[in-house]
């Protein structure tokens, strides 16, 4: 189940990626014993997306993830292990100040060595919100067209290219390179309406299966470190006096009250299965007015003053969508 590690740096020049690997009992199971290549071949676009989703969650893999946005390139080491119930992950950014992110199911421990601190962040979903994977693919096709296009060799591996285009201009498109043998997503690009690449993420090197669990352990002993937990309290937006109107297909994932730099804020998170956006509502500083914040790759943000509140929309969405969501935020009469 173990494949050779790939030397990095092949990708100089064209951003990217390579990789991959193997195995996968899963793909073969799904195929009912047929070879995995055939199995994935006859799949509908919807099934392709399901395979990608499941593979990202259920395979064990470790590798080097390259993230590129404009001229900026960042690399991280990532280790992912699925224990049969939940996934465990360790992410080590290789650039900037040393940090590590250790995830178990929905809890992420962020290690800050120079401060000897651990910050725990939890994605605690309200019971009424369906898990993304369940919600996903069928609903997704209402807002995107998914086309299984050509096959391309990526880093020596036979990949299926999957093109996801938005039906309307209110969200971005994606191009995926999926390893035909394992179903693992090896490279992913976010595209604007002209087809320009806004950001891309790719494995520069990956090993699938046979991941040593020791690799999930943090680099530093954290005994005696200060532990802080991000305090989120679920709230009902309507009770808080707000009505938000995200674009069609964006379903609510979370609505919480949380501390932010300027004080407590409401945060509502929505996702359409591929893109997500957050709406922050907090007291407005006296001088604040409505404005678009600087864009960062696929991330756009728009802040709008509503009475004495500031409504800020942030997400992997076009600028106009961020603005429209902010404009549609409504203070309910109380």
């Amino acid at each position: 189940m173990q494949r050779a590690q790939w030397p990095l740096w092949r990708w100089i020049g064209t951003a990217t990626l390579l990789t991959a690997l193997v195995g996968l009992a899963q793909a073969q199971e799904r195929a009912g014993g047929a070879s995995s290549a055939e199995a994935v071949d006859g799949r509908s676009p919807e099934q392709w997306l399901q395979i990608v989703q499941q593979s990202a969650r259920r395979l064990d893999y470790s590798g080097t993830l390259v993230y590129q946005q404009g001229a900026e390139v960042r690399m991280s080491r990532i280790v992912h292990v699925f224990d049969g119930k939940v996934s465990h992950e360790r992410l080590q950014p290789m650039d900037g100040r040393p940090r590590e992110f250790i995830r178990q199911a929905d809890e992420v421990k962020c290690l800050i060595p120079e401060a000897k601190r651990v910050v725990i962040e939890r994605r605690t979903r309200a019971a009424s919100f369906p898990a993304l994977a369940e919600a996903a693919t069928s609903d997704l096709l209402q807002h995107y067209t998914v086309k299984v296009s050509g096959r391309e060799r990526v880093g020596g591996f036979d990949c299926q290219v999957v093109e996801i285009r938005p039906r309307q201009g209110d969200r971005y498109g994606y191009r995926l390179w999926v390893d035909r043998a394992s179903g693992l997503l090896l490279r992913s690009q976010t595209l604007d309406e002209r087809g320009d690449v806004l950001e891309q993420m790719a494995f520069a090197e990956v090993r699938i299966g046979g991941v040593d669990r020791e690799l999930l352990k943090p680099s530093w002993p954290t005994d005696g470190w200060r532990v802080d937990e991000a305090a989120h309290r679920p709230v009902d937006l309507k009770e808080q006096g707000w009505r938000l109107s995200p674009p069609a297909g964006f379903k609510p994932l979370y609505a919480v009250r949380r501390p932010m730099a300027a004080g407590p804020a409401l945060q509502a998170v929505y996702s359409d299965g591929l893109a997500s956006l957050s709406v922050f509502i907090e007291p407005a500083p006296a001088s604040a007015s409505s404005e678009a914040l600087p864009r960062q790759g696929p991330i756009n943000a728009y802040a709008r003053r509503v009475g004495d509140s500031m409504v800020t929309v942030v997400g992997e969405i076009p600028a106009e969508t961020a603005r429209a969501v902010a404009q549609a935020a409504e203070r309910l009469g109380r």
């Binding site: 950014p93 992420v108 995926l176 993420m201 960062q296």
Partner: protein, 200 residues
């Protein structure tokens, strides 16, 4: 770019720029890639013999780097140019006979007077190693064309960072797990992997 050009010791408003000011203006234009070939040649020739011009050139580079990044600017040190120049002088000359004419031309650039210009170029390469080495072709190709295109690409700030946006992005990333990629990948996006609790 012209209107807000920073020129040490020169005032753009002065009715008659002194000769030194004029030189500084042209050095600044050279730095911005706005000088034509003849202008470049004349100025490089001048850098060979005019120590004051060399110092101005080094200062302009230092100011520009400081404006872009404290990290890059910290590579500057007073004796750096001299050390690089001296090291270049000590470099053994390795050449094939047939290459003589070209070598002679290149040699001109290696004279002590041009040391500052070379040092500045070395500086940029030293200061931004990974970015220049790994930026994909597509990105480089989009950089402004011109004599200094590759340098321009390397100098551009990677991403316009807004501390305000970073904070929202950190909070967004915390709750918005990607559907297709490993769950932790949004942590890759924020600069220096900023955390919500930092920087308060």
């Amino acid at each position: 770019m012209n209107t807000d050009r920073i020129v040490p010791g020169a005032s753009a408003d002065a009715p008659r720029a002194s000769e030194a000011d004029d030189c500084a203006q042209r050095l600044s234009a050279l730095l911005d890639g706005e000088l034509d070939a003849d202008g470049c040649a004349a100025l490089v020739e001048r850098l060979r013999r005019d120590e004051q011009a060399c110092r101005t050139w080094a200062l302009l580079n230092c100011v520009g780097d400081a404006m872009r990044s404290a990290d890059v600017a910290s590579f500057h040190s007073a004796g750096f140019v001299d050390r690089v120049s001296a090291a270049l002088e000590r470099e053994p000359t390795v050449l094939a006979p047939a290459a003589l004419p070209q070598r002679a031309a290149a040699r001109r650039w290696l004279l002590p007077g041009a040391g500052a210009a070379i040092a500045a170029a070395v500086l940029i390469a030293v200061g931004l190693p990974s970015k220049q080495a790994t930026a994909p072709e597509a990105t480089i190709a989009r950089a402004p064309a011109g004599p200094a295109a590759s340098v321009v690409a390397a100098e551009q700030p990677a991403i316009a960072r807004s501390p305000q946006l970073e904070r929202y992005l950190a909070a967004h990333r915390e709750l918005a797990a990607p559907a297709l990629m490993p769950s932790s990948t949004p942590y890759v996006r924020t600069s220096g992997a900023l955390l919500m609790q930092e920087g308060r």
